[in-house]
Each structure stands twice: as C-alpha cells, then as structure tokens.
Symmetry: C2
Subunit: 302 residues, 2 copies
C-alpha cells in the first residue's frame, strides 16, 4: 500500500441541473480526486482556499483520512468559485461564472512530507505549475496527468514537456482529438503513447473510457445509471479512484491498470448520483466493491 498525492483545484461550486441546484458546495478537481482515492489508499491533497472555505469541508476530507496539510488558506482571500448549469438532457453545460480568486496565483508548494509520495495525480492546472510540482518531487513512481483544451490551445509546448514526464495521460475525447489532430479515437490514443506516457486513457463520459497501453486496448463502458443528478467531478473521481487503486496495489502493470480503470469508473458513477461530493459522503468501500462486481457482470460474456 503506497500513498497518493493530488494537486489541483479546491473549489466551491454552484451547480444547477434538472434535478436541483446547490450553492457554493464543496468542489474542485483535487477534492473530487482525493476523496475518490481515499476509498483505496492514503491521500495527500495540495491546493489553495480562501477564508470563506468552511472548516467542515476540511474536516470532511480529514475524516476520509486525507492529509490536508498541503491545502493552504490565504488570509483575506476567497476560494475558487465555479458556477454552471446543465442542459435538460445533461449532455452539455454552460459555465455561468468562473471566479479564480486565490486559485489565480496558486503556486503549489509541497510540504517536505509530500515530496517522496510515489503516486501523483496532477489535476488540470497550468502546465507550468504541473512541471513545477514534478520538479519538487524526489522520485515519483507513477504520475497521472489531466489537462484541458485551454492549455492545449495556448500552452502546448509547456504541456508537451509535462506529458513527456508522466506515465499516464487522461483526456476526454475532445481533448484527445485536439492534442493529436486525429479525429479517430484509436488513432488519437496510439499517438498519445508516442508523446511519453506508457498509458493513455480517453474518457467518453457516459460512454465509458478507452485505455491505450503497449500491451493493447482496454474498453470500459460507463456504468449505466438510471438517475444522474450531477455529473460534476466525475472525471476527477475517475482519475482519483484509479490512482488510489494503483497506489493501494502498488502495481501499474496492465492488469492493475485495467482493474483501476474499473474502480475509477465505479466511484465516478456513484459521484454522479448526487450533487457535489454528497454521494461520496455516505459511500462505503463495501458498496464500491459491490458495484465493481456488478460492473464485471455487466460486461460478462462467454
């Protein structure tokens, strides 16, 4: 059992879907990923918040066993706030507000205890900051990387430097096409493997994920859900669950990666069933394992 470090946004999200709305609820990529990973392995989160970040949010993470010493509180500052509204069919969303606040000048500084953590997830932040995090690490064994279309468009050279230094790249289908210039996802996935990582995962939302490795291709369907209340954070829960699962096994061979993709999908599927991280607040490891078994039954054929 190794531990895993998550670096990225900690946020307050205001989200509206056809199933309801929440105002300034707990959110952020590192929060989702860290909480998801905490079902499997010890987690450290590095991020920044403002004085408006309620103590119960930190308490929630700590109660999940998350080491929050790397979450800096900026005196007089306000926490990153994102507001969005999902369409009636939940297939698209409009961003209503993005207030970076203290996240705008976020400079991740890793406490000494964090620098030797073997498993690392670099959630979506400026690639220069992702590089800076890697430079602070002593010997990361397996680094997972997320990014977004913005950095592919305006910081490509820096992003490619980060990509070359990580073991796993996680992109959604649109980002994979943009980064590779390939409209076909299989062609795109294979091209991602030439950029440095030894594994590339193309996330397709409700349609699941495709993982490319030198050993071959793995396809995981999305876990079919009858009610999706709020998909916010599902990509980060997927990545976090996956990284936590790898750290727990301290293994990154093809079988370990496939298993981790499914565990990541399982945690992401739970996350979609309620707003903010609310479903994860009551989720148990037994429920996670039960859905892992259901996932195996879902794809079983002879």
């Amino acid at each position: 059992m190794a531990d895993v470090l998550m670096v990225g946004s900690v946020a307050l999200d205001s989200v509206e879907t056809p199933f309801g709305k929440v105002e300034r609820a707990l959110g952020g990529a590192a929060t989702y990923a860290g909480t998801a990973a905490s079902f499997f392995a010890p987690v450290k989160v590095v991020g920044v918040v403002g004085e408006d970040f309620a103590p119960e949010h930190l308490a929630f993470l700590q109660q999940r066993g998350v080491d929050t010493r790397g979450i800096e509180t900026v005196a007089g500052g306000k926490t990153f706030h994102w507001a969005g509204r999902y369409s009636a069919d939940m297939n698209s969303r409009d961003t209503l507000a993005t207030e970076l606040n203290v996240f705008e000048t976020f400079q991740p500084v890793l406490p000494a205890a964090h620098r030797a953590v073997p498993y690392v997830f670099l959630a979506n932040i400026h690639p220069a900051l992702q590089l800076d995090v890697l430079d602070q690490m002593s010997a990361p064994r397996f680094v997972g990387l997320d990014t977004m279309n913005l950095w592919i468009n305006i910081e490509l050279a820096t992003l490619l430097q980060v990509v070359a230094r990580v073991q796993l790249l996680l992109l959604n289908d649109e980002e994979a096409r943009l980064l590779t210039g390939e409209s076909n996802l299989v062609a795109a996935g294979r091209k991602l493997l030439t950029m440095g990582p030894r594994a590339a995962i193309v996330k397709k939302g409700e349609h699941g994920a495709l993982m490319f490795t030198v050993d071959g291709l793995f396809a995981a369907p999305g876990f079919p859900l009858e009610v999706v209340k709020d998909p916010t954070g599902c990509g980060d829960c997927f990545a976090g669950g996956l990284m936590g699962c790898l750290a727990a096994a301290d293994a990154t061979d093809d079988d370990a990666l496939r298993r981790a993709v499914v565990y990541g999908s399982v945690v992401a599927s739970f996350n979609a069933q309620d707003f903010s991280l609310d479903r994860l607040r009551t989720l148990t490891r037994a429920e996670v394992d039960e859905r892992f078994a259901a996932f195996a039954d879902l794809v079983r054929f002879a």
Copy 2:
C-alpha cells in the same frame, strides 16, 4: 442449428465518405443482415428488387448460402436507391436521395418454405408490413425487430402492435428515447421491456450497445477501429450477426443473447472497414472468431 429469415430492403446505395465513394453498390437492410447472419446459420431473405438489380448481387448472396427465392424481381421496375454523404468526422450523414421505386409497393409474400423458419429479423419497413409478415409465419420462435423514427412518429399504434409480438427490439439511442419519452437510456431500456419484448438493445454506434433483459443489463463497447471507411449497414450487420448467432445455437437465454451481441458487433465492425458489403465478401469465419477473441480481451479485467 436453426435457420433465420430476414425481411426488409434490398437496395442499391450511392455513398460518399472522406475515404471514397461508391455508386449504386449493393445495400439494403435485409442484404446486410442476411449476409452477416450467413456467417453463422442458413439464411432466407425476403425482399424486392427491380430489373436493374445485377445478377451478380443475387449470385453473391447465393454463394454465401443465402436462399434468395423470397427476393422478388419486379419486371420493368427499379431497385430502391439510397444516396448519402457522411461528414468529415463520420458522425453524421446527409441523405442526398431516397428513391423507393419497387420498394414503395413492397408487399412481402413468404414462400411456403419460409413460413416455418424459427428465427426472424424484421428489418425497418412499415410496421403494417411487419405485422403482415408475422401473420404469415406459422410459429416464429424468436423475432427481432428494427424500426425508425419515421414510424414512431407517424405509425405509433401499429408499431406498438408489432413490438408486443416480438421477443427482441433493436433501436438506436435516439429511437429509444423517442419511443419511450425517456431521455435516460437506462430508463428508456427498462420501459421498452414493458412493451412486450423480453430483450431490448439500444445501439450507440461507435459507443457500442446496451442490452436489457429481465436477467439484467449487458454493455458491449464498440470494437475500436482505426479506420472506418463506411458505416452504412452496420446496424443491420449487428442485428443480422446477432440473429444468425442465436439461430446457430438455437438458444435465446441470457448467455446466448450476450454472446450474440458480441458476434453481431464483430461483424458490424468488419463491415465498417470498407464500402458497401465489400469487407464481408472476403471475410472468413476464422477472422470473425479471431475478432470475437480480441473483443473478449478488450473488455477483460480481474
């Protein structure tokens, strides 16, 4: 080993994709489905063509072991002609021409030898004709049904009568949502099961298929392809391969259905790799079985 009957269009298609174009090439739902099924079981096709239908098209089907006695040739008539052009990313297509010709007055009449066939696929035609076919059958054991948004919109009552009399309903995601009024596919799939069939398959194109039965849910990813030249007929190849596989095993339990879904996906994936039915012309059963094994490896995890 039972045999399988396919009733539907036999056509000449003019198709343009970013990878090339064909003019009046062999097409039609019953043609694709019948050819796909012929890799597994003896097939009979019922359809109608005009005098412009080249003898080599019938010869091709016969060479695949297809009984073509149910394909009527209308003297002086012209074959159903469809023309379409796919978008650059292959995710949408425009219909350039639909000339129904002899298909407009198609009244399927089953030869005596066809009436006792146990496995039947009713490809997309007017639901009143589908009902008429069922009325001509002595005791169909397992009927698969396809339809389209047009009939859901303008012939719903008749369509629901057909749906109530079949064992398997195959729809794409858009049709499933339209027929059930449910935007969530799991909710839609479960609702389809209340309409009569004991299995419902929601086709998601490159994203695979979801099968709903009383025994549970089966998710098959699409087989990832690096080159898709022409997806025309893939849905019918999927249905045909599936029905042929069931007929070959003469079994329709959940395990048989899951296996058939994968075999259907395999044949559909080959079909997409070339124009018209061209890839199926050289395809061997050994290649089909090899990709079936690759499919198992694609979704394998422990």
